[in-house]
Symmetry: none
Subunit: 226 residues, 2 copies
């Protein structure tokens, strides 16, 4: 039921609406956190680093549009998806919202299924490489359907964690994945494993394919290099 461990922050000053949205998102398998105004939302966003933020526009202290603009100024949230939620259905508000840097604009009253469809559609884009299919990188072909790795004419059937780790690293060759990110994406947020666990799996991959492909970046994480 886990939905790729995406984290969503819901910001609205009406507790009923927050709870209603949170309930539906959780049911869909998302990791949800909440806040009840703009300032609070920014604080929690900085702490939780959500993948998507649902922002009510009309809120006390700091309204949704201002919150969005503030978030977008911070490079940390450059890739965070932002969805406005509002009772204002007029064209001008919607244009203003989207131009403020939002990715979508949903009009109240909230229809749960529609909300989920839109949220799913947005998050689908976040990791376009992790979808089902085949991914070719250098001498590697990662076959996600069969959990198989083809490497220089040979093909290997890796254990799940090893495969997912390799798949993550090869999804963006060259990019350094932070240890935290690796834990989140391969192990999930619920399970807490020791520090050495990642190393052991990295080691197994290196044993199989040679040391040259996975590069350690000390203090940060690992990257795949071809």
């Amino acid at each position: 039921m886990e939905k790729n461990n995406f984290k969503i922050l819901v910001v609205d000053d009406e507790p009923d609406i927050v709870e209603f949205i949170a309930y539906n998102l959780k049911k869909e398998g998302y990791d949800v956190c909440t806040a009840n105004d703009g300032l609070d939302g920014i604080k929690i966003a900085e702490k939780e680093k959500p993948d998507l933020i649902i922002l009510d526009i009309m809120m006390p202290r700091l309204d949704g549009v201002e919150t969005c603009e503030h978030l977008r100024r911070n490079p940390m949230f450059k890739n965070t998806l932002i969805v406005f939620l509002t009772a204002l259905g007029d064209e001008q508000s919607e244009i203003k919202g989207l131009n403020a840097g939002a990715d979508d604009y949903i009009v109240k009253p909230i229809k749960p299924k529609l909300l989920l469809s839109r949220v799913n559609a947005l998050l689908r884009r976040l990791q376009p490489t992790e979808t089902v299919g085949k991914n070719q990188i250098g001498d590697f072909i990662i076959d996600m359907e069969q959990y198989l790795v083809h490497y220089k004419t040979e093909h290997y059937s890796l254990p799940r964690k090893e495969f997912e780790l390799l798949n993550l690293l090869t999804s963006k060759p060259g990019k350094v994945f932070h240890r935290d990110d690796i834990l989140n994406k391969v192990w999930g947020t619920e399970v807490i494993v020791g520090d050495r666990t990642i190393d052991v799996h990295i080691r197994k991959l290196r044993q199989r394919f040679g040391d040259e492909h996975i590069v350690t970046v000390k203090g940060i994480g690992y990257k795949f290099d071809s």
Copy 2:
């Protein structure tokens, strides 16, 4: 007013609507091509490889939803944005459309400004990696994603503190960073280190790249100069 040379394909069986949309997109600076039904749309999409496709739902031969599903089956269009355009404003149709793999769903009648805002919002996301994480200053390219520094054809993998220090200084070339600021941003507020620590790291950078790039401003701090 060139808009990153994004290419948009507009598919609708009503020529007036196609022309109306194409006109507005071109005015915004997009490269536009058109088709007048689903089958035609697929053919042109394969040839033109657009970044975004606007699909009418009700069309002869092959309707929008079927066209979308067909496109999504082809890996070539895995990352292509698809927007449905329709007179059907009901919730069920919208959910069905989004679940078929579309990225957005816009209800007729078309409001040009709103359409553009939504199209802009979608395309804003398309290539976030090309600008994010890379910072070019003179002969330097700081690649935050790969934790690499490219300098005059060579590329270096720096230790963490060195990298972060260089990254800070190059983030605003010419600006003098106070020693206190450097300590806060690179070392954080919790750790307290001696005065000479900064100097030592500055020295390492100067050893690597030459003395000319990092300038000491006595009594204040350091700045990067190109």
